[in-house]
């Protein structure tokens, strides 16, 4: 079945800083319908927003971001849904993935673009050459990585090496806890994964040309 996957990591809102990622999958050959499939969304919001509002925000954001051209700026002025004019959507587009952060005016716009870059590079390191399916099937791991970078809506760590070190240490801890019982589970999961349709490893971060010219790395 020929598929074209449009994976969009996208969105969120919080009066402080928000992230959420979503994906849309279009299977053109089977039936011409579009369905949105979320990879990861995360809301750091003070006032609780209901699941319905969250979904609405995600849909709206997806709608806004996905219709934008290639060569336009990466900022979108906030609509009412994401908390008014103080908030902005800042996104980056990698192959089929959109990473969208929603931030307020206390964050530097270019700084957030860099943060997204750090996030993607970290994903690349942690998943060893990341592809969209890694993100789809391992949302929990993506969450864990994000948690080391952003905490309660505020930037926690921007140094990639530091993040990777902490994630590795946590993985080790996890493995040691699984111990004897973990081995057969891993084996089964490996078998299950063999059934996966050919995994297209189509987003190679190394190949992606980044549009922002020589941004300094925040190290």
């Amino acid at each position: 079945v020929p598929r074209s996957r449009v994976l969009n990591c996208k969105t969120s809102c919080l009066s402080d800083f928000t992230i959420c990622l979503s994906t849309a999958t279009t299977r053109i050959s089977v039936a011409p319908y579009l369905c949105q499939h979320l990879i990861l969304s995360y809301f750091y919001i003070f006032a609780h927003t209901s699941e319905d509002t969250q979904q609405q925000i995600i849909r709206e954001t997806f709608h806004l971001v996905s219709k934008r051209d290639e060569n336009v700026c990466n900022f979108l002025e906030g609509g009412l849904l994401i908390g008014g004019s103080d908030n902005k959507l800042i996104y980056r587009h990698y192959a089929t993935l959109y990473f969208v952060f929603c931030v307020d005016s206390s964050e530097s716009e270019l700084g957030i673009l860099d943060l997204i870059q750090v996030f993607v590079e970290t994903l690349d390191k942690c998943f060893e050459n990341v592809c969209e399916l890694d993100l789809i099937f391992h949302v929990d791991k993506v969450h864990n990585i994000l948690a080391e970078m952003v905490m309660g809506g505020m930037v926690l760590e921007t140094n990639m090496n530091e993040i990777v070190t902490q994630i590795d240490a946590q993985n080790k801890l996890e493995k040691s806890e699984a111990g004897l019982a973990g081995a057969p589970a891993r084996a089964v999961s490996a078998v299950k994964n063999m059934n996966l349709p050919e995994i297209p490893r189509n987003i190679n971060i190394g190949d992606i040309s980044i549009k922002v010219p020589n941004l300094p790395s925040f190290k």
């Binding site: 979320l38 051209d69 060569n71 949302v139 905490m151 996890e174 806890e177």
Partner: protein
């Protein structure tokens, strides 16, 4: 055992895990909802199992489903179970789920407190880390209060990984529990200089976030941040600090001066665009703050504008966007420097990126002038035509209106052009901004008298054209324009060319499809038109025509009478009757025109929107005073509702001003007329024809309508009207210029012939363009003696307002984070500790005021010192940047100090003199050293002075209030009441509960030795009741007493505390008890006893708890509180004191106070909410209470009644 585990795990292998779930959902595209509901059923089964691994797996899947929009709050308890698993793997899953779905309304969240505390103190840093991360998302006020101290401890953890998370989460804690800010701030400040860059960056992050909301409290940190800025190499930290400075500079212009140089250096040196951009931004903020005082910063402005131009011209759209954004900030204060780049901005208007176009539009606002307004608007109009999507088109529309109407239509030279632009805009289908256009039309027509004739002509054409009415009103907001059109045609009907035609247009059947409020305006203005036509016809003595018009109205009005809209119906039926009456009169040949016109006599003048608010209250008028004394409050209870109703009526009655006699009135009127005649700014009404008949002779009228005939009223058709105006305008200007040149030439010739002193260069500046019409923009009327103050009320619901806390004030002892202790009683029993406050307490009555005063002074002093540190730092700028005025300022302070030398303020003076010298001679190293020494010495002094006046218990005992009550001095109050007394000893006591322990209260008993004997072996015993029991040392029986842990020498008093366990707190109760002791004097020793009755009032179970008004309102709305009320008469105390008394004695806090009404809140140790509404009448006070327990409430109110009775 091991086999069982393996077997269990093999079973589990075939449970669905997260990957299976994701795969399943992707494979069930067609029936996703069904598949997911199946999965949720499975998950529910899994959650019922005991195996924690199965549960964790289920919660992990739920987290994913939550992301897809499914509500998982039903699993909150299971999530907590997984959170408390011992394995990190599971714990992390639990905390992740909690962070996604817990919020303040989740009731089980209070079960997590102890679990989180345990995790925070876990030996594994990842357990702690994951708890902090989770908590940061779902922290509630309760959690914040209970865990603040634990988190603060973690800020000094040995591992930087924990430290940085703990520092960062403090911001969330401050937000939820503002009381923690002051105690935690010193440590937070320390972390700014943490060796680990991550921790440092987190601390900068938190402080910047705090300072952004309340910058003034963080001004004293400026030197520290300045140091960080010049030393740090971390761009994240730099950006944050630079942004923070941007927020601080408006408060302290000197800071800006100090910053300019390092920032300019950074701009020149950095290669990081993000840093460059933030620097430019902050320099702009500095320049804005300096704009009034400093003349010579044009170099900096130029630098900024240049750099921004580079950004805007960059091919990268992001930089272009940001460049425009920053440019719009400069525009506000330095429009000239931006206007030079008009070309660039106009170019950006054509950009294909909407975000950029919007930014460019913002800039346009400041770029227009009289000269280019028409040209720019023309360009925008073409964009309007091309624009796809209503959002951008609407944005354009509002911008066009903004640009044209800014500063009172300053840039419009030709209002006919503007009206035609507005009319062209009405062709936009589906815009949401019809009302904006309408408002503009009304505004221009009312305020620019010269334009009325033209406006009326255009509006009648609008009314006549079908397209506006035809478009469906639901879809299009543009029909709002008809509202304005109808009103203008009606009100200024004297200018109508063909009133009859317009009248018919307004009475068409289609009009009834318009929204109700527009129809209502139609109906009203039809009558205005009718009046005008009648007048016209009667003057022409055309009786039959007049009757025809009446007939037309009688025929057409019924269609409005049938309207579903009440307003339309009411107006129409009223007017229909009127017209029928007129018809009768006409049949008898009675002239009616004048009387009908009288309905609409007079002119409507524009009034400023704030005018009403600004009418000053005349001297001697007390709006709160009774006009009629209320009836005495002696009515019996059942008459009460009636009495309240009367109150209401009295309040509505109008104040009757004392009647001035006729002569006085006449005199005043004359005086006002004189004043108005002499005041060039007073706008006199010009008589309209409608009004003429009633004009009294002698009222001056100044005709304003004067139309410049260089612009024809009717323009040839063909191209859009506004374009023709542009052309005409160009011609007109050209002509004007020629004329002017001619005049100038003549002048010059004259000059040449004369002295020949100057020859002026001709440039066409804005001022040269004379407006086409004699524009008289009527300013809005304001009441005479309006108060000029323009108070912008702050939003009372701002969540950050609670964090507006002075951080420079020294910490009081009472300000501590709540710490969970196992037994309060032991620690607080130590006599040394209790000694000091006790002495204070005894002597506090007379001294209280004095002490408060002293304290205030001390605070002031501290502030001065602080300020001085900052001043010193700020004043050590390179001499070039220190302007003369400042030196002056310093000098004056010094002289003030010198003349007021009798005040012992030595150390301050030293510092001042130091500074003075520093300023006079340039700061030499030697001086600096000296100053440093000074500084080092000062803290010691501070400490000393602190010891001298130790913060007393009073502070703690005083009610915590949201609203400040310290407007007037409060009478001294003590919460201690007499327990028992004999010749040996006097006992007073107070009962305090604590929110941490829901069934315990602490009774503090002050024992005062009144005899010459030495009292020892004191023992207190109480006869326990079923409901209340004294907590005795372990192993003792119910009949044993509790020893008092001290002895009392003659004349000494001390305090002992006893803990009681209470079952039910809804009723007051008394416990009988005995104090036994041995009294020893020179003659020997005797065994003595003193019986007492310990009274536990319901009040003693309350704990003063602050409450915010929004939370308070929510509580009241929730509806699960029962209500009761009391009323007490004969109150003479002021309301302020009364509230203070309730706060103090009944442990309430004021939520909100409005005049003589206040809402108050308190909470019992068992968590009952108690809300009060206290209202003060003339001599009575009524208290309405709401509480989750009716018995508790009625008992509390009874107690309060007693207190109030003594007021």
């Amino acid at each position: 055992m091991a086999l069982k585990m393996v077997k269990g795990s093999i079973d589990r292998m075939f449970d669905k895990n997260l990957q299976d779930l994701v795969r399943g959902i992707r494979n069930h595209k067609e029936d996703e909802a069904k598949y997911i509901s199946q999965c949720i059923d499975e998950i529910k089964q899994e959650l019922k199992q005991d195996n924690i691994a199965v549960k964790a797996n289920a919660v992990c899947k739920l987290t994913y489903l939550q992301m897809l929009g499914y509500d998982i709050s039903w699993a909150a308890f299971n999530i907590i179970e997984v959170m408390s698993a011992s394995k990190f793997t599971f714990k992390r899953i639990g905390y992740l789920a909690a962070s996604q779905c817990f919020h303040e309304g989740t009731d089980v969240i209070m079960l997590t407190t102890n679990q989180i505390r345990k995790d925070l103190s876990s030996p594994s840093q990842y357990d702690t880390g994951v708890a902090l991360t989770g908590l940061s998302c779902f922290v509630t006020p309760d959690l914040a209060r209970d865990l603040a101290n634990d988190i603060m401890t973690l800020m000094s953890h040995t591992k930087p990984y924990i430290r940085k998370k703990a520092v960062l989460i403090m911001y969330k804690v401050f937000l939820k529990y503002p009381e923690s800010l002051r105690p935690a701030f010193p440590r937070l400040k320390e972390k700014l200089e943490d060796p680990d860059p991550g921790v440092q960056s987190a601390a900068v992050n938190v402080i910047c976030e705090l300072a952004r909301r309340n910058p003034k409290n963080y001004l004293s940190l400026a030197p520290l941040f300045f140091k960080l800025m010049t030393s740090s190499t971390n761009n994240w930290v730099l950006i944050k600090i630079i942004k923070l400075f941007g927020a601080l500079t408006p408060l302290e212009p000197r800071l800006g001066k100090k910053l300019i140089e390092p920032l300019t250096n950074l701009i020149h040196s950095t290669s990081a665009m993000s840093l460059l951009y933030e620097c430019v931004n902050t320099v702009i903020a500095v320049l804005i703050s300096l704009s009034s005082g400093m003349p010579n910063h044009s170099a900096s402005i130029q630098l900024c504008v240049q750099k921004l131009r580079i950004l805007i011209e960059d091919s990268d759209q992001n930089l272009k966007y940001l460049g425009l954004l920053a440019m719009s900030k400069i525009l506000r204060t330095h429009p000239k420097s931006v206007q030079a780049h008009k070309d660039l901005v106009l170019q950006c208007l054509d950009d294909k990126d909407e975000s950029i176009r919007l930014r460019a539009l913002d800039l346009l606002y400041g770029m227009v002038s009289k000269k280019n307004l028409m040209e720019i608007v023309k360009k925008l109009m073409t964009h309007v035509d091309k624009a796809e999507g209503t959002t951008y088109r609407d944005e354009l529309l509002t911008k066009i209106i903004d640009i044209c109407s800014q500063s009172n239509y300053q840039h419009i030279t030709n209002f006919e052009w503007y009206i035609s632009i507005l009319v062209e805009l009405t062709r936009l289908e589906g815009t949401r901004h019809g009302h904006l256009i309408a408002a503009q039309m009304l505004d221009v027509a009312i305020r620019v008298k010269a334009i009325r004739r033209f406006a009326v002509a255009q509006m009648s054409a609008l009314l006549d054209s079908a397209h506006l009415v035809a478009s469906s009103p639901q879809r299009s907001g543009i029909c709002e324009v008809l509202y304005a059109a109808a009103w203008i045609c009606g009100e200024f009907s004297e200018h109508l060319q063909e009133p009859q035609q317009t009248l018919e247009a307004m009475l068409r059947p289609k009009v009834t499809t318009l929204p109700g409020h527009i129809q209502a305006v139609y109906v009203q203005n039809v009558v205005k038109l009718y009046a005008a036509i009648l007048q016209q016809k009667e003057q022409a003595a055309d009786v039959s025509a007049a009757q025809e018009v009446t007939q037309l109205l009688v025929e057409r009005l019924p269609q409005f009478v049938q309207s579903a809209d009440l307003e339309v119906q009411e107006r129409a039926s009223c007017i229909l009757q009127l017209v029928k009456h007129v018809q009768k009169l006409q049949a008898k040949d009675v002239p009616v025109a004048e009387e009908v016109s009288a309905l609409f006599a007079g002119e409507l003048n524009p009034v400023a929107p704030k005018a009403q608010k600004k009418v000053p209250v005349p001297e001697g008028l007390d709006l709160d005073a009774w006009i009629n004394e209320p009836l005495s409050d002696s009515e019996s209870e059942d008459e009460k509702p009636k009495a309240m109703f009367q109150d209401e009526e009295q309040r509505h009655a109008k104040p009757r001003a004392p009647e001035a006699d006729e002569q006085e009135l006449a005199r005043r009127r004359e005086a006002r007329r004189q004043e108005q005649a002499n005041n060039p700014f007073y706008i006199k009404s010009s008589p309209s024809p409608q009004k003429r008949y009633q004009d009294a002779p002698g009222v001056e009228h100044i005709p304003v309508v004067q139309i410049d005939l260089s612009v024809p009223l009717k323009v040839p058709a063909g191209m859009p009207l506004s374009d023709q105006y542009v052309k005409l305008e160009e011609e007109r200007r050209h002509r004007q210029r020629l004329e002017k040149d001619k005049r100038k030439k003549k002048k010059r010739e004259r000059e040449r012939r004369g002295t020949r002193r100057h020859s002026s260069l001709h440039t066409e500046s804005d001022e040269d363009i004379a407006p086409a019409q004699r524009v008289d923009i009527v300013t809005e009327e304001m009441p005479e003696n309006a108060l000029p103050s323009d108070e912008d009320d702050k939003d009372p619901n701002d969540p950050y307002r609670a964090l507006d806390i002075d951080l420079d004030k020294p910490l009081a002892d009472s300000e501590k984070l709540p710490v969970q202790k196992h037994r309060n009683a032991e620690t607080s029993k130590s006599p040394e500790k209790e000694d000091v406050p006790l002495m204070e307490k005894k002597s506090k009555k007379p001294k209280k005021k004095e002490k408060k005063h002293k304290e205030k002074e001390r605070e002031k002093k501290k502030k001065v010192e602080k300020g001085e540190d900052l001043d010193f730092w700020l004043s050590t700028t390179p001499p070039a940047a220190t302007p003369a005025p400042e030196e002056l300022e310093v000098n004056t302070t010094v002289t003030v100090l010198k003349t007021g030398q009798e005040e012992p303020r030595g150390e301050e003076q030293d510092a001042d003199e130091d500074r003075e010298q520093d300023l006079e001679k340039k700061p030499s190293k030697h001086k600096k050293k000296k100053h440093k020494k000074d500084k080092e010495e000062r803290p010691k002094d501070k400490r000393k002075s602190k010891k001298k006046v130790p913060p007393t218990d009073e502070e703690a005992a005083e009610p915590v209030e949201n609203g400040t009550l310290d407007e007037e001095p409060l009478p001294p109050m003590s919460s201690y009441t007499l327990l028992a007394e004999n010749s040996y000893i006097k006992m007073t006591y107070d009962v305090q509960g604590s929110l941490q322990k829901d069934s315990q209260v602490t009774v503090s008993v002050v024992l005062e030795n009144q005899s010459d004997s030495f009292l020892k072996s004191m023992e207190l015993n109480v006869l326990d009741s079923l409901n209340a029991r004294l907590a005795r040392p372990e192993g003792s029986s119910v009949h044993d007493g509790v020893p008092v842990p001290f002895q009392l020498p003659p004349g000494i008093s001390n305090e002992a505390q006893f803990v009681f366990t209470i079952q039910s707190i809804v009723m007051a109760q008394k416990l009988k008890g005995t104090l036994s002791f041995i009294a020893k004097n020179d003659e020997g020793s005797t065994h003595e006893k003193l019986d007492f009755k310990l009274h536990f009032t319901c009040t003693s179970y309350l704990v003063t708890t602050p409450c915010y008004s929004d939370a308070f309102a929510k509580l009241l709305e929730s509806g699960d509180l029962s209500m009761s009320s009391i009323k007490v008469d004969g109150i003479s105390m002021s309301f302020h004191n009364l509230l203070a008394k309730i706060c103090f004695h009944h442990r309430f806090s004021v939520v909100e106070r409005v005049d003589s009404c206040a809402s108050m809140y308190s909470r019992s140790i068992q968590g009952h909410h108690v809300c009060l509404l206290v209202k003060k009448g003339e001599k009575s006070v009524s208290v309405d209470g709401k509480c989750s327990d009716p018995t508790l409430l009625s008992n509390l109110l009874e107690e309060m009644k007693e207190t109030l009775a003594t007021c």
